[in-house]
Amino acid sequence: MENTQKLLKKYTMTIALVVVFIMFAFFTNGKIFLAQNISNLLLQNAYVLVMACGMLLCILTGGNVDLSVGSTLCLVGAVAAQFMSAGLNPIVTIVLCLGISLLIGIWQGFWIGYVHIPPFICTLAGMFLFRGLGRVILSSKTVNISDKTFLGIFTSYITVPGLDDGGMKWSALIVGVAVAVFLIGYTAFSRVKKAQKGYTMASPFVAFGKIIAISALVIVYAWKLTNYKGIPVMLLWIMLVVLLYAFITSKTAFGRYFYAVGGNEKATKLSGIDTKKVYFVAYCSMSILAGFSGLLVAARIGSVNGDMGMSYEMDAIGSCFIGGASAYGGSGTIPGIVIGALLLGVINQGMSICGLDNNWQYVIKGAVLLLAVIFDVVSNHKTGKA
């Protein structure tokens, strides 16, 4: 009984995701399961997934957020659009845009990490500053992006000659099955290794049940891609960022510093860790990912205007908190925020497919937030904090 409660608590958001998915499958008469919709689910939310990874590092340092990411995204998208309009090589444009994102990160990371300006104030200023700069660069107009190389780098689909020539893109299924086999094999291998070293492990039922469920989902997703246009390149970019950040936060010492700073900054400092550098890196990485998201969104839409990225920071922050990051820092994982981002994505996509009026969409979003507010007030009341 206790184990079941623990499991339910641990996988609350995953269960919520499944429930919401089934609910929208019912309301949309199964349209949400169409290959195109399944494929678009990740592509439409690529920017959330990418930015949420960076936002997690900021939140881990003590519940700090970066409010300027939507504006950074707009600024970098604007620069990319103008560079390509001027005939600059798309690869050079991408490198320069990522360089500009890094400069923005250094700017904010310096003030937050080394001058101790509160992140909320510093990034709020950045939100207005970078949005304004983006509009100046665009001259308050919409600039189209038509460079095929640039669009191909972010929005094309992988086609293997001889395998994907027909209506079915078999390469997607092959990759999906290979990933599923690798996941199961890796789990078995790591369990054997842990058993040899005498480590305590989760029961085989839980461990293999979890990995088999994930593998089944991967194969179903791959099958849907097979029936549509194959593997989108954007999916590879998302996977690259997610896996890299999952590795950094869970397998490296430097990744652990973010948790340590959020847990107890003073103790971390006394342990000899440069906490200023930790803050600096968190905001640098956030800005680079915001800039990268700017390129992804610009390529996906095919144009950039001054309103691009408006309220995207809320999506990234929301994904982190829904995914289990603590508002006071020190806890949260990349798999958690992926679940959070997918949950937000499914709600948004489900409402669009249902053809819900915009106002009803706002009502649902507001209702979800109010529930969170009630939870906050009630839990603080119980613990006597307020």
Binding site: N64, F120, K266, N359, W360, Y362, V363, L370, V377, A386
Partner: protein, 95 residues
Amino acid sequence: MFQIPSGKKYYEKLKSKAYTGLALRVLVAGYVLYLAWMIASGSISGESTMPVWCVILFCTLFAVSAVFFIIYAIRSFIKALKAAEIRETSDTEEQ
């Protein structure tokens, strides 16, 4: 340790947590207010087919909730700040 007579000293970590809590709560309240505004403006511009009574109901609900949450956020902040105060005047180190 020299101390300004009227100035209060705080445990930095707790003070920072109080500010973070206030900022996040105000942000959430602001977003709920923004949603109320979007519902109202969508109805005024004629883009929405939502019945007027629903618009009034949800706008009022969201606006009132946001205002109450801001008041709650400020009260919690004052309480948290008070808890973060260093009461001793000497031989007290930061947490």
